[in-house]
Point group: C2
Chain length 335, copies 2
Amino acid sequence: MKNIFTNKRIFDASPAASGGFVWYIQRDKVVTVQSPATVANMVCGFDVLGFAVEAPYDIMRIQFSNQPGITIINEDDFQLPVEPEKNVAGAALLALLAEVPIPDIGLEIRIRKQIKPGSGVGSSAASAAGAVVAANYLLNEPFSKSDLVRFAMNGEKLASGVKHADNIAPCIYGGVTLIRSIFPLDIVSIPAPELYVTIVHPQIEVRTSDARSILKQNVLLKDAIKQWGNIAGLVAGLLQSDYALIGRSLEDVLIEPVRCILIPGFHEVKERARAVGALGGGISGSGPSIFMLSTQRNIAESVAQEMKAIFARIELAHHTYVTSINPAGIRVIES
Amino acid sequence: MKNIFTNKRIFDASPAASGGFVWYIQRDKVVTVQSPATVANMVCGFDVLGFAVEAPYDIMRIQFSNQPGITIINEDDFQLPVEPEKNVAGAALLALLAEVPIPDIGLEIRIRKQIKPGSGVGSSAASAAGAVVAANYLLNEPFSKSDLVRFAMNGEKLASGVKHADNIAPCIYGGVTLIRSIFPLDIVSIPAPELYVTIVHPQIEVRTSDARSILKQNVLLKDAIKQWGNIAGLVAGLLQSDYALIGRSLEDVLIEPVRCILIPGFHEVKERARAVGALGGGISGSGPSIFMLSTQRNIAESVAQEMKAIFARIELAHHTYVTSINPAGIRVIES
C-alpha cells in the first residue's frame, strides 16, 4: 500500500498549491454531496446571471482509491462515459488533480445523476462542480471557490466546447450569481430574497449549438440599453427584496424573442404563469426548460398546473418541478 | 386683485389633479431651492444611470405673481431667454401649470444659474427640474416626484429635442438613479455609499447632437454582454458599498471608446486619476466634462490636481470641481 493511503500529513512547498497549506490525507474519509440544478441566462441577464435551485440535484460520493487517477462509477441509467477524460465530472477532477502536489493520488467517485442531461438546467455543471467541491472537502479544502469554478469549467468545455461558468458559478456559490467578467473571472454573489421557482422541461431536444447559432451577432444599441436597464433593475430588486421591481425587470428584448421559437408553448406558459401571479421568468439556459419565479409556494404550484395543462393540450411529454432558490449551492450531506 | 392672490382654499374636483388634493394658495409664500448639477451616462450605465452632485448648483426663487402665466427673471450673465416657451425652466413650468386647476395663476421665478450651459453636467435639467420642484413646494406639494420628472422633461425637449430624463431623474430623486424604462417611466433610486466626485470641464464645445450622431446604431452582442455584466456589478457594488466592485465595474466598452475622441486629454485624465487612487469614471453626459469617483475627499482633490496639470500642459482652459454624490437632489433652502 502506498504512502498516501495511510493517514499522513504532507507539508507542501509547491507554489502551485495554496501557500503553506498542510496536505493531509485521511485514508477512510468519504464525502457525499448534493449538487443542484441551476438556471443560467436569467432573462435580461443573458450570459451573466444565474441561480441555483433546491431540486433536482445529483448525489455524488467521493473517497480515496488505491487506483491512481480517477475512477468513475455511475449509479444511474444515463450511461454516461466512465473514462475520466470523456466524463464532465472526470474532466473537472483531472484539472483539480493537476494542482494537487501529491504523486499517484487516486480518487473514486460514485455518481447518481437525477438531473436529466440536455434539459437546460445545468446537468453537466452539477456533475463538474459537484465532483470538484466534493474532492475539495475530501482534501480538507485546499482550494478557493474561484479555483473550483476554474476546475469545473473544464467539464463544461467537454460538454459544450466552451469553458463557460454560467451554471458552474451558481452551483458552487449558491443563490443568484453574477459573472461580471469571464477573463479575468469575476463572480459576484447577489443575495436574493426567498423566491419560488417552477420549472417545466418539455421533452424535446434543443442543442446548445443550435440555440447559439440562431442568435444575431449584432444587436441594436437601443435594445441593448433596454436590456441593461432591466438587468440593473433586476439586481436592485433582488438586493432590496423589491418583488414588484423584480417582476418589472424580468424582460428580455434580445435573446428570448429569437430563441423562444425553438420551444413550443413558450408564450402561453409565460402568459398563464403571470396570470396566476408569477413575477415572470423565461428560458432556462438555452432551453428547452422554462422557469418562472413566484413569491409564494402556492403560486409556484399553480404555475406548475398551468404548465402541465398547456403541454398536455399540445401533447408534449414534460416534467415540472416546484422548488426554490437554493442559497447554499452544493451541500455536503455526509463527511 | 384676483381671488387667487388672497390666501384661499380651493377644493378641487378636477380628475387631472391628485385625487382630493386641497389646493391652497398662500399669497406671500416664497420658495428658494438649490438645484444641483448631475452626471448622466454613468460609465457602463449609458442612458439609464446618473447621479446628483453637491456642487455646482443653480439657485431659484419662486413666488406667486399678479401677472398670469410665467414670469422669468434671470439673475446671471448667461443671457438665457425669458420667454417661458423658449426657456427650459419656463417650458417645464408651463407643463406643470397645465395640470393646476386654478385659472389665471401667475408664477414669478428668479434664476441664478451657476452651472454653465453646455458643460455636460445637466445645466438644463437643473433649470427645468429646479423650477417645477420649487413650484410644487409653493403649491404645497400636489405632485409626485414622477409627475415632476414628467413636467421637467419638457425642458429637456426644448434644450436637446429629446424628452429624456437622464439628468432630470437624479436631480429630483437625488443620489444615484436608474431609469429602468422611459415608456412607461420607471425610475429606481439606487442608494449609494459616500463617494467623492471630481469633475473637470474643459472649455470646448461638444454638441449633444454630434455626440449622438457618432454612436453606432448596432453593437456586437458580446460587447453588450460585457456592458450589462458591468452595470449589474456597478449596481450591486453601490447597493452593498463594495468599493472594489464599483471600481472593477466602472468600464464602458461601447460608448466611451467612440465618444472619447471628442475630448482631448480623456485617456490621460482617466489613467492619472486611477493612478492617484480614484475608483474610475468617464464622460459626464455627452461631454465635454469628465468625472471621476473616489472613496475619500483627499483622493478626489489629488485627482483634481492631476486634471489641472493635464489640461494646463495641453493648454486648454478648464474648470474643476471637487464634490460628492448628493443624496437629496434639489434642496429647499428657504420657504
